[in-house]
C-alpha cells in the first residue's frame, strides 16, 4: 500500500475501490480498437515520404498490383480543407506538392486484404526534387535556409525579473553550462489505431484509440466541410497515451475517414504497426539549454539565466504550448531576485515533435537541477543544502511574479526524501566506497521541482470546459465527460468524486463512453487537469444534481441511503423524463495571468516534489543501473492512493528510460532505430524499487482538495539520475541524456 500521510474522513475519496474497467482488462474482454470487428472493413495504409524536404514530381503505381481493387486517396481527393486544425493551420493531412519531413503522409491506400494492402505500399513510387533540409537546431537558427516565417522560429518567450546582467560582475561565483535532452519515443504499447465510416450522406464517424475525442472532432470538420453534428468521434479503450494520443490521432482519423469517404462509406481501419508508429508519430521535443547562475560563496542564488531551444519539427502542432510549459518550469522552486528566461521552438525537417507527459517541463527542469548539482560541487556545498538555502517560501515571488500564498512544504518533502533514501548515510558511504573500488562506482543524488496542474495561464478559461451527470433508468448516476481513460484511472477517480459528493456507493456511478455525440466537451485529457479541473466540474455537477433532487422534493435534504437516492431518482425521472446537470469551468478568483508579459499566476496549483536516485555504474561495461528510487510529493488530496502511486511509479520508470536507455537515433531527421529491439525500454529487471510517498495539502479549488499529479513524475528523475551519475564519477557532469554506457565511456576517457 502506498504511503499517504493523511487521515481521510471520506467514504470514497482516499480509498481504493476497484477500477471501473479492471475486470475487462484482466480477463482480456476489454475491446481495444483492433479488437473491434466491422463488417466489410477495408485495411488502410499510409504511403509516406522518404525525403526530409522535397517537391513531389510524380506519383506512380507499379504495374502488377490490382490497383482497381484499391481505394487510393491523395491530397486532391480531399473534400474540404487539407489542414489539421490545431494551433496553426500549417500541417496538411496529406502532403500536396511539397513534403517537409520524412514519413510524411502522401498517399492513402485501402484494400480488403491486409497483406495485399501492406504489399501495395511499397509499389507506390514517389519521385521528388530534393530540397535542402534543416536537420538540427543549429542549422535552423543559422539562417540561409528559411522554411518558416522569417527566422524558422515558431515561437519565443521571454520572462524577466530583475536584471541578471547587473549581477554577474558582482557575484562571488558565476557558473555556466550547456545541456541537452534527447527526443523520447512514446511507446504506448497499443499503437495508433482508428476505424472510420464516412460518406456525404451519413457524415463521418470515427472510433479510435485517443486522449481527446474533441480534438479529432475539431480536426475532421474542416477536412470534410461538415458541421458539428455530422462528425462523431468515439473513444475506444486506449492502451496508453502519455501525450502521444493527444494531437496525433487526428491524422490517422482523417486518413481513415478520407478512404472511407472515397470507398462509398465502407469502414476503413488503420492500425499502425510498431515500426510505422515509431517512425512517423510524435516524440518528446529535444531541447538544448544554456544555464548561467550567479552565487555568493555560501550558495545564495543571486541571478539565473536560462536559454532553451526546442526542436519543434516541420509543423507547429503543439510546440508553442509545449515551449510555454517548458518556459514556466525553467526557474524551479527557488527564490531569486534576478531571472531571465529566454526560450524558442524552431523549425526543422523532422516529423513534428509533440505532446509527451511533462509537456516541455522535463526538458527545462533537467538543465536547471543538474546545474544546481554542478554548482553545489563547485561551491563545495552539499547539493541538498544549496537547494535548501534558496527554496521558495511563502511570500516569495516566482520569476513570473506569482506570489507564493502559502508554504510549499518543499523543505519537509526534501528531508522526508532524504530520510527514506538514507541520503546522508549513502553520500558518505558511497564517497568512501568510490575511493577504494575501481569496479563499481556508486552514486546518489536528488532533485527538487514543481509541476503546474491544468492548462497554462489563461488556457483553462479559453477551453471553457463543460462536464455533467445524468440519472440512469435504474436510479444510478452516469458521468458525462469527454475525458478518456488511458490507464491513468480517470473513470475511477471521477466516479469516486461523484460518489463522495452525492453520498452514494461508488458502484452507483457509471461513466459514459466519451463520444462526441453524447458527452459535452470537458476539454482534453492532458496537462494533469483531468482529476483536478474536470473532477471539480463533476463534483459541482454532483452538488447541483443533488440540489435539483432535493428541490423537487424527491430527496430529503438531510442525508439519504443508497436506496433512498435510487427511489428519489426514479421518482424524478418519472415526473420529468430525464435529469442532466452540467457545470462549466470557473477560474479560481485569485488567479490572473498576462499572456503578453508572461507575468502572473502561470498555474492555479502546483504539485511539489523531491526525488532521490540511487545507482551504481559497472566500470567494466559503463552501464548505470538504478538501485533504488524515492519519490516524495505533495499533490493535494490523493483521491485513490493505489492509482496515484501507480502514476508516480510509471512516470518515474518512463523518466528512467529517458535518462539512461532510450535513444532515438535520428537520420535525415527521422528515427532510424524504430524497432523495440533497438529502442531500449527498461524492463522489470532494469527498473529499481520505486518508493512513493504522498503529502497532502488540500487545494481549495480542486475536488476534495486534489491537484494534478500525472506528469509530475516525469520531471524529477532525469536530473536526479544524471546528478547521481556525476556523483559516481567523482563529480564529473555528463550534461546530456540519455546517459548510455557509450556516453559514460566517452566522458571518462
Amino acid at each position: 500500500m502506498p504511503d499517504v500521510l493523511t487521515t481521510p474522513a471520506y467514504r470514497w475519496v482516499g480509498h481504493n475501490p476497484p477500477r471501473k474497467e479492471s475486470l475487462e482488462k484482466v480477463t482480456g474482454s476489454a475491446k481495444y480498437l483492433d479488437d473491434l470487428k466491422f463488417e466489410g472493413c477495408l485495411h488502410g495504409k499510409t504511403v509516406r515520404s522518404t525525403v526530409p524536404h522535397g517537391r513531389i514530381k510524380k506519383i506512380s503505381f507499379e504495374p502488377g498490383v490490382p490497383w482497381d481493387e484499391f481505394t487510393v486517396v491523395t491530397a486532391r481527393d480531399i473534400p474540404g480543407k487539407n489542414v489539421v486544425s490545431l494551433i496553426e493551420l500549417d500541417q496538411p493531412f496529406l502532403a500536396d506538392g511539397l513534403v517537409r519531413h520524412m514519413a510524411e503522409p502522401v498517399v492513402l491506400l485501402a484494400h480488403p486484404d491486409k497483406g495485399m494492402a501492406e504489399k501495395a505500399v511499397k509499389r507506390v513510387h514517389i519521385e521528388y526534387e530534393e530540397l535542402p533540409a534543416i536537420l538540427t537546431i543549429e542549422e535552423s537558427l543559422a539562417g540561409g535556409n528559411i522554411q518558416y516565417g522569417k527566422d524558422n522560429i515558431f515561437k519565443k518567450y521571454h520572462i524577466q525579473k530583475g536584471d541578471p546582467e547587473s549581477v554577474w560582475p558582482k557575484a562571488d561565483v558565476v557558473i555556466e553550462g550547456e545541456y541537452w535532452t534527447g527526443p523520447q519515443e512514446q511507446l504506448y504499447i497499443e499503437p495508433q489505431g482508428v476505424v472510420a465510416v464516412a460518406s456525404p450522406t451519413g457524415g463521418v464517424t470515427v472510433w479510435g484509440s485517443m486522449q481527446c475525442p474533441f480534438y479529432v472532432h475539431k480536426g475532421l470538420k474542416p477536412l470534410f466541410n461538415l458541421p458539428d453534428d455530422r462528425v462523431r468521434v468515439i473513444y475506444t479503450v486506449t492502451g496508453g497515451g502519455f501525450g502521444g494520443k493527444e494531437e496525433y490521432p487526428t491524422l490517422p482519423a482523417g486518413h481513415a475517414a478520407l478512404l472511407s469517404w472515397k470507398a462509398g462509406g465502407r469502414p476503413v481501419k488503420i492500425v499502425y504497426d510498431r515500426m510505422e508508429d515509431m517512425w512517423a508519430t510524435t516524440k518528446r521535443h529535444p531541447c538544448k539549454t544554456r544555464v548561467k547562475a550567479a552565487f555568493t560563496k555560501d550558495g545564495k542564488l543571486l541571478a539565473l539565466k536560462v536559454d532553451a531551444t526546442m526542436d519543434g519539427g516541420a509543423y507547429v502542432t503543439l510546440s508553442t504550448v509545449v515551449l510555454s510549459r517548458g518556459t514556466l518550469h525553467a526557474f524551479g522552486p527557488y527564490a531569486c531576485d534576478h531571472v531571465v528566461i529566454d526560450t524558442r521552438a524552431v523549425f526543422t525537417n523532422s516529423p513534428p515533435y509533440g505532446a509527451f507527459r511533462g509537456f516541455g517541463a522535463p526538458q527545462t527542469i533537467f538543465p536547471l537541477e543538474l546545474h544546481l548539482h554542478r554548482a553545489a560541487c563547485e561551491l563545495g556545498i552539499e547539493p541538498h543544502e544549496l537547494r535548501r538555502r534558496n527554496l521558495l517560501h511563502q511570500g516569495d515571488r516566482m520569476a513570473t511574479g506569482q506570489v507564493m500564498q502559502e508554504e510549499t512544504g518543499l523543505e519537509g518533502l526534501m528531508w522526508k526524501a532524504m530520510d527514506e533514501s538514507k541520503y546522508l548515510e549513502k553520500t558518505k558511504a558511497y564517497r568512501e566506497h568510490n575511493r577504494s573500488s575501481t569496479r563499481i562506482k556508486k552514486g546518489v543524488a536528488l532533485a527538487l521541482f514543481f509541476h503546474g496542474a491544468g492548462f497554462t495561464g489563461s488556457g483553462e478559461v479559453f477551453l471553457d470546459s463543460k462536464a455533467g451527470l445524468e440519472l440512469t433508468r435504474d436510479g444510478a448516476v452516469r458521468i458525462l465527460s469527454a475525458n478518456t481513460e488511458i490507464g491513468q484511472g480517470s473513470f475511477t477517480t471521477h466516479s469516486q468524486i461523484v460518489a463522495e459528493e452525492l453520498r452514494i456507493p461508488y458502484e452507483m456511478v457509471e461513466v459514459a463512453v466519451p463520444d462526441t455525440a453524447v458527452v459535452p466537451n470537458s476539454g482534453p485529457t492532458v496537462a494533469s487537469r483531468t482529476c483536478m479541473v474536470v473532477g471539480e466540474l463533476l463534483r459541482r455537477a454532483a452538488s447541483d444534481l443533488k440540489e435539483v433532487l432535493v428541490k423537487s422534493g424527491a430527496l430529503a435534504g438531510n442525508g439519504h441511503t443508497p436506496s433512498e437516492f435510487r427511489a428519489a431518482a426514479g421518482k424524478y425521472l418519472q415526473r420529468f423524463g430525464e435529469l442532466k446537470v452540467y457545470s462549466k469551468y470557473k477560474p479560481p478568483p485569485d488567479v490572473s495571468w498576462d499572456d503578453k508579459t508572461y507575468t502572473g499566476s502561470a498555474y492555479a496549483a502546483y504539485a511539489w516534489a523531491c526525488y532521490v536516485a540511487d545507482l551504481e555504474i559497472d566500470m567494466a561495461t559503463y552501464q548505470a543501473q538504478m538501485k533504488d528510487f524515492v519519490a516524495v510529493q505533495e499533490v493535494g488530496r490523493v483521491i485513490h492512493p493505489v492509482i496515484a502511486a501507480g502514476q508516480i511509479e510509471g512516470g518515474v520508470a518512463q523518466a528512467i528510460g529517458w535518462a539512461l536507455y532510450e535513444d532515438v537515433a535520428l537520420k535525415q531527421g527521422v528515427m532510424q532505430n524504430c524497432q523495440l529491439t533497438n529502442y531500449i525500454l527498461p524492463t522489470t529487471a532494469d527498473t529499481p524499487p520505486i518508493r512513493v510517498f504522498f503529502y497532502e495539502n488540500p487545494y481549495q479549488n480542486g475536488p476534495f482538495g486534489a491537484k494534478g499529479l500525472g506528469e509530475l513524475p516525469m520531471d524529477g528523475p532525469a536530473p536526479a539520475i544524471a546528478a547521481a551519475v556525476a556523483f559516481a564519477l567523482g563529480d564529473r557532469i555528463i550534461p546530456r541524456i540519455p546517459i548510455l554506457p557509450e556516453t559514460i565511456l566517452d566522458a571518462i576517457s
Partner: protein, 305 residues
C-alpha cells in the same frame, strides 16, 4: 506486420529423410526451427518470399539432450564409479529452456545455462534453438560463443550423409557458414571440458534481458599445476562481423604462466586483434574497450581463484 504471408509456403515433412530430400530442390527451402528469428523478419517485411521447411514436424529432430560417457580417467574420477560424462549432444530443436532445465548440463557445461538465461526472455527461450542460433549466423548470437569455447562440433546432415564440422571453423564472414544449402544441422556435440577448467561468461547487452548483445565473451581456461595455461578459448559475440574466436590472443597466452604480466600482454594483443563493428547498437570504441575489460576481468578472477 509488413509481409503478406501469401508470398510464402511451408513444407512440413514427417521424417528426416523427407526433410533432407526436400533440401535438394532448387532453390532449397529455408529451415524453420523455433521461428524466433524468421518470424521477426517476416513481421518486418524483411523475410525473403519462398518456401520454408518446418522442422517441428520431424520427430527425429526433437530428441532429448543426450549425455554420453567419456574415457575413464582414474586420476580424476576415482576408480570403480560410473564412467565420467564425456560429451553432450543437443538435437536440432533443443531449446534454451531445455538446457536451463537439464540438471546435468547445468553441472557439466555451466556456460550454456548462463547464456540461455540471458537470451531474450523466458518466452523466447522456450522457442529458440541452439542449432537455429548457429545457423542464423548472427554476429550477436549469444548461444554460439559458449559452444565454441567448449569446442563444440556441428553435425551437418544431407541426403548424402553426415559430416562433423568444428564450430570454430563454421563461420567465414558475415552470415557466411560452412552449411551447404542441402544440409541441415541435426545435432551439436559438446565435449565436456577437463576437470578443473575455469569458465567465464558475460553478456553486455543494451539492458538486462530482452537485449541484443553489444559485447559478449565466453572464455574457458585449463590451467596446469604451476598455473601455466594449457589451453584457453576466448570467443566474442557482437564485436566482429561473426562470432569470433580470438586465436591470436589465445596463442599469446597458451603455455604462459597466468600472472599480471600475461594479463596485460593478452589485453594488448586483443586490442590490436579485434576490429570491432560500429552499428546502431553501439560504437566500435565501446566494443573494443569493453571486450578488453571483459578479458581482464576473466583472467583477473581466474587468478584470484
Amino acid at each position: 506486420m509488413k509481409s503478406s504471408i501469401a508470398d510464402f509456403a511451408v513444407i512440413s515433412p514427417r521424417t528426416l529423410a523427407e526433410a533432407l530430400a526436400s533440401l535438394r530442390q532448387t532453390p532449397p527451402p529455408v529451415p524453420l526451427a523455433g521461428g524466433t528469428d524468421i518470424m521477426v523478419l517476416l513481421n518486418a517485411g524483411q523475410l525473403e518470399p519462398g518456401v520454408y521447411l518446418n522442422l517441428y514436424s520431424v520427430p527425429e529432430l526433437r530428441r532429448p539432450i543426450e549425455v554420453s560417457a567419456g574415457v575413464r580417467d582414474a586420476g580424476t574420477w576415482g576408480a570403480g564409479g560410473a564412467d565420467p560424462p564425456g560429451e553432450v549432444r543437443l538435437s536440432a530443436l533443443t531449446t534454451y529452456a531445455d538446457v536451463r532445465r537439464h540438471a546435468e548440463v547445468r553441472r557439466l557445461l555451466p556456460m550454456l545455462p548462463l547464456a540461455a538465461r540471458e537470451i531474450g526472455a523466458v518466452q523466447i527461450q522456450s522457442r529458440a534453438t541452439w542449432a537455429g542460433n548457429i545457423a542464423n549466423a548472427s554476429p550477436a548470437a549469444d548461444g554460439v560463443p559458449p559452444l565454441m569455447a567448449y569446442d563444440a562440433t556441428v553435425e551437418l546432415s544431407s541426403a548424402a550423409g553426415v559430416r562433423q564440422v568444428a564450430l570454430s571453423e563454421f563461420y567465414s564472414g558475415y552470415k557466411q557458414t560452412a552449411r551447404r544449402p542441402d544440409e541441415l544441422i541435426t545435432g551439436i556435440r559438446i565435449p565436456v571440458p577437463a576437470p578443473g577448467s575455469i569458465d567465464y561468461f558475460r553478456k553486455v547487452g543494451t539492458r538486462k534481458f530482452q537485449a541484443i548483445s553489444k559485447v559478449l565473451l565466453a572464455g574457458l581456461v585449463e590451467l596446469g599445476g604451476s598455473r601455466e595455461i594449457r589451453k584457453i578459448r576466448l570467443v566474442f559475440a557482437s564485436v566482429m562481423p561473426f562470432t569470433y574466436r580470438a586465436r591470436k590472443t589465445e596463442s599469446v597466452l597458451e603455455g604462459r604462466r597466468l600472472e599480471p604480466g600475461a594479463v596485460s600482454l593478452a589485453v594488448e594483443t586483443l586490442r590490436t586483434e579485434l576490429k570491432p563493428i560500429d552499428d546502431i547498437r553501439s560504437t566500435a570504441r565501446y566494443r573494443l574497450k569493453v571486450a578488453c575489460n571483459l578479458l581482464e576481468e576473466f583472467l583477473g578472477t581466474t587468478m584470484g581463484c
